[in-house]
Symmetry: C2
Subunit: 248 residues, 2 copies
């Protein structure tokens, strides 16, 4: 049963899932990192993740790891497959292929450490790349790809609302875009776009009273997953092209 084609050179491999869990806290985009409790890369920061179990799909494994690492179930956040990473040398212990997932959620509580981790914490993404300690394995590249995916998804889909705890205001939502894209947006034009988009926001009828200023209407996430028309980053944003396989 397990011996699909037991030819030499076709050895079975280990498959893991790794999670890039993003949130916006304190006006900064943050990623959940663990500190590795085992060799290799002992003590290094890394993305949470783990092995796929026998009867499990990759999606199920990602959901399970998410719960184990953060204590949050997948219902309240957005989870999608990013891509597979397969460099033969990416794990010094042997052949391990990983499938990365991108998770987006509202400001989550401080996580409890999982089994494989001695510590789990939120880290501003800017600090990850500028910091003194690099990420374990090829996780820096995975994080980079995940960030670009997230930024791009804000343009064409309604996932930004996944960053907001319900109910939320248009200002909350705009704040997400501004933090993730790293640029200010025109409040009035932003409002027009997101309120005109079909089934993006459903008004609750309630209002939130800020410390000072006019109260803002509250909304919940609508059924739409796609944002039509798209909300494009204006100006000279350098977008990466598609990830293409180039021979040699």
């Amino acid at each position: 049963m397990i011996d699909v084609t037991a030819k030499p050179g076709h050895a079975p491999v280990f498959v893991t899932v790794d999670l890039v869990i993003l949130t916006v806290r304190q006006d900064v985009l943050q990623v959940l990192l663990i500190e590795r409790g085992n060799e290799p890369y002992l003590g290094f920061p890394a993305l949470p993740g783990g092995h796929v179990r026998d009867g499990e799909t990759l999606d199920q494994a990602a959901l399970r790891e998410l719960g184990e690492e953060t204590g949050v179930d997948g219902r309240s956040l957005h989870l999608e497959q990013l891509r597979a990473y397969s460099d033969p040398g990416r794990d010094p212990r042997g052949r391990v292929i990983t499938v990365a997932y991108l998770a987006l959620g509202p400001g989550l509580p401080h996580p409890t450490a999982g089994t494989d981790a001695t510590a789990a914490r939120w880290v501003p993404v800017a600090d990850v790349f500028d910091g003194p300690v690099p990420l374990a394995f090829d996780h820096a590249g995975i994080l980079r790809d995940a960030l670009e995916r997230a930024r791009s998804q804000l343009e064409h889909t309604t996932v930004a609302a996944a960053f907001c705890a319900e109910p939320f205001t248009v200002g909350d939502l705009r704040h997400i875009y501004e933090v993730v894209w790293g640029m200010p947006l025109d409040p009035s034009n932003f409002r027009r776009k997101v309120t005109n988009a079909d089934s993006f926001l459903v008004p609750t009828g309630e209002r939130r009273h800020p410390e000072t200023g006019r109260p803002a209407a509250l909304y919940r996430r609508g059924a739409a997953r796609l944002l039509l028309p798209p909300l494009l980053r204006s100006g000279d944003v350098t977008r990466p092209g598609p990830v293409v396989v180039t021979p040699h």
Copy 2:
């Protein structure tokens, strides 16, 4: 070395790559299918693919399989990772996770059968779904995802040129869009867009003389990978949302 974490429930799995190779021949979008020469699904049509070898990345495995199945090296066509498919029941022989790749190329020669295949042939994609014999494994779903990815990529990237053998005319390129999207496009507006896009087309200075009509300028692929501004499918195209993991 191979025993990364030899816990029960973490058995190693087999990993394969499957290729969705698309081309436009005789005014129709076609996909390269093999006929399976082994159980399971013996005699059924299937996507070409095979096991990842020990020292190989997934990209390298996809390129190798591409050569083995079609005799074409990857230099002249576009190849990109699609996503991983991991349903535990997708292969009755055991646990096999596959990573699908999307390949786009100009009208390729009739392929020579590979090792695992008793026959390989081009099949119009419309016939695949309407035909009497379904694809093996979960390949119908993979093909569906690949088609949507290809159609979407035409909007935002320059991959359409990968369908054209060089040199090609603006009319050739427009024909690709019309076949893949299944809708006619305005020739004059199309021309304006693709010739205005930076580094999409580089004129050769030559002209091609059709059987009848005015000769058309010839072009080669430019360096641009991204199409700015995008060339959007107009009208009421129903686009699928992002593939999201939903718990339960």
